[in-house]
Symmetry: C2
Subunit: 453 residues, 2 copies
Amino acid sequence: MKKPLIKILPLLLGGILFAQNKQDSIQFKRISDEILINEQAYSNLYDLTKNIGHRLSGSESYEKATKWAFDKLKEAGADKVWYQEVMVPVWVRGKESLQIKTAKGQWKKLNMLSLGNSEGTKGQDLTAEIILVKSFDEFNKLSEADVKGKIVFFNYPFNQTFISTGQAYGDAGKYRSTTASLVAKKGGKAVIIRSLSSSFDDVPHTGMMRYQEGIEKIPAVAIGPKSADELEKTLKSEKILAKLNSNCTMKPDKLSHSVIGEITGKKDQSVIVVGGHLDSWDVGEGASDDGTGIVQSIEILRTFKKLNLQNNHTIRVVCFANEENGVKGGKKYKEEAQKNNEKHLFAIESDGGGFTPRGFGLDMKEGKRRQIQSWASLFFPYGIYDFTKTYSGTDVEPLNELDVPTAELVPDSQRYFDIHHTAEDTFEKVNRREMLLGAVAMGQLIYMIDKNW
Amino acid sequence: MKKPLIKILPLLLGGILFAQNKQDSIQFKRISDEILINEQAYSNLYDLTKNIGHRLSGSESYEKATKWAFDKLKEAGADKVWYQEVMVPVWVRGKESLQIKTAKGQWKKLNMLSLGNSEGTKGQDLTAEIILVKSFDEFNKLSEADVKGKIVFFNYPFNQTFISTGQAYGDAGKYRSTTASLVAKKGGKAVIIRSLSSSFDDVPHTGMMRYQEGIEKIPAVAIGPKSADELEKTLKSEKILAKLNSNCTMKPDKLSHSVIGEITGKKDQSVIVVGGHLDSWDVGEGASDDGTGIVQSIEILRTFKKLNLQNNHTIRVVCFANEENGVKGGKKYKEEAQKNNEKHLFAIESDGGGFTPRGFGLDMKEGKRRQIQSWASLFFPYGIYDFTKTYSGTDVEPLNELDVPTAELVPDSQRYFDIHHTAEDTFEKVNRREMLLGAVAMGQLIYMIDKNW
């Protein structure tokens, strides 16, 4: 007896889905094996961090890095590599120091870093009394008379109770970005903040701050957590003078470049972007932020070429310029995509460090997110299980304005903010296998999207 | 109109479950916050690793560590702390060296470590030609004539394609544990193995080997991956002599102790065990293996006391003796539990390093496992999602014979076998937050089991 189609259809469909799933899981393993065995990413990271080093927008080393990225994309087998012009801000640090003197003491140097985009003291000593506040609430209670002529020290702690350190970073971030202008409005002379650090060491963390239009641009600096704790303790019992001397300043914008390489799509020219940012802060080596995102992205291109995966759509690696202090590269990329009427299917960034991946942030319509979530069982053997987050990377976010689904790799966050924006962000802090697994996960996701979208 | 009970019962039950779940999630957060803010585990680890250091069974430093653990359990608030006697093997390393000489060359030293429990050369030079095999298959093809008088070098690679490095460790482990007797049977003089390492550096890894009864006990040593690669390369084109000189040997067994501390159950005296092993190999500092398991377990006891969690059952921290080369502590613990008719509800060990936790291995009947899996949504916000593994810790495994459900914390595995059993297993390789989150996860699981079992 023939079974009615309505009864066997689910079985047929189930069979097709199972076979499909098996086919995908074979490709997942091919991608993973290729990267774990034949990878070039780790030696590329060594080269970028040790032979070029940190590379702030506008610096000579950033220009070196663009040439490096161009060559590495070629080496990896890109069909086409080019520079995308973009005007970037140029901030320079110069010599700087912060000293404190207690009522009975000598001048004592503190480990410090001026915050990115901050103005300095033009090489003059700025000497003033420090006053301590722990939060905006405490600061808002101070009158102009309290603040006038003083250096305000914001010792807002990094919230250790958040499981995702990114959440604690976001929470404390406003103390870095906004306090200088708030203090200037009340007549203060400078701002010191506690570094946005998950650690309790004495390493200062830089990072971008912003001035409000029309408000005096007073200097803003960060000190390490240990110095911050000690300073708070001393301030509770005595007056402390600070002497800041710094030379940082903003220069005129400069022409620079993002670097782009792609494998042409076999079926059409719709674009899937994978990227990181090529610039870094001007301390350390820009290894975890974001050398790893760059070498992972190049590794994916190499892997698609090497395995001859015959991508339907164009897979494009973008090494974005100027994420750290302006996001000019990400914004320019979106403008160009719009101007050239390029259809973008998807864009993902890796900018959370080369730590073992746990999932993807998915900033897109619910239907697309659900479809990616439906692939979860394929990813589970690779330690990828978290598809709940809805943010994406800073450089790909502008593409949201063109309705492009965007994403970010979500690596384990526990170690990132120990070293983020510091002299400690070095090659040695990156684990080879952890970083490679990030490339594996993004490569697998791109494989699925290329095939299904 | 009254609704029939059958219709409102699911709602009622749903409401109760929801309220229950909310209550549990509040307790989860209390445990997490207490550990992330007020922890003593990290400074305890510093103390154990820097002031005592490595601590092989039978060594003076192991005895120091037992006193240290006793004091720390008291400090953490244990109601009762005691030593559990156990006879342990005593293996001593002594001075050792391995040199090689190519056809044209000078003698050249290689970084090496004798494998644990191996006999040495009694301080005499053992000089012989090296022959290379890559696997058991290759070795089995060799005749007695091929092997007689030679040193056999097993260069079996650590399989980089496994996502869990523990799987690669298990896969390569038999080359460490069994090859000496196999080679001795064919008249070989010694064995060199490639270290069981996920890295490509030149750090040698020790670890336990075993001799078959009645077979000559020939020396077995490990070299680092880099030396192994170079040695293989050279051996393909020329003959190499090796000169091994070592003093390691097994001494008579000695009386030692596991250290135990507990909080008495409020309702009954059934026991929930959480532990790690107090011994370590005789190189490095025994930080990740297994200082972290010890300080995490003590931290959980401290937290239950500090939060006054009023555990129904006895929560017992066991710092096991002699995991590394005999598991005498774990076996003795089980014997004593059986002899004293102690009812054990559950036992969990942390012995995979203090890396960010991902889940639990659950070695128990399906029903119990399912119940723990049903708590998954409570754990998800803490990054704990993997309840699929069915193994448990080496020291708690013997309790399976008494039908005790056992478990192991499953941390991220990517970095562990870079440093496992090496001079690099130091405090500096442990990240504070990652290690604390392991304590949080185990504390939360124990809270649930204490309440529900």
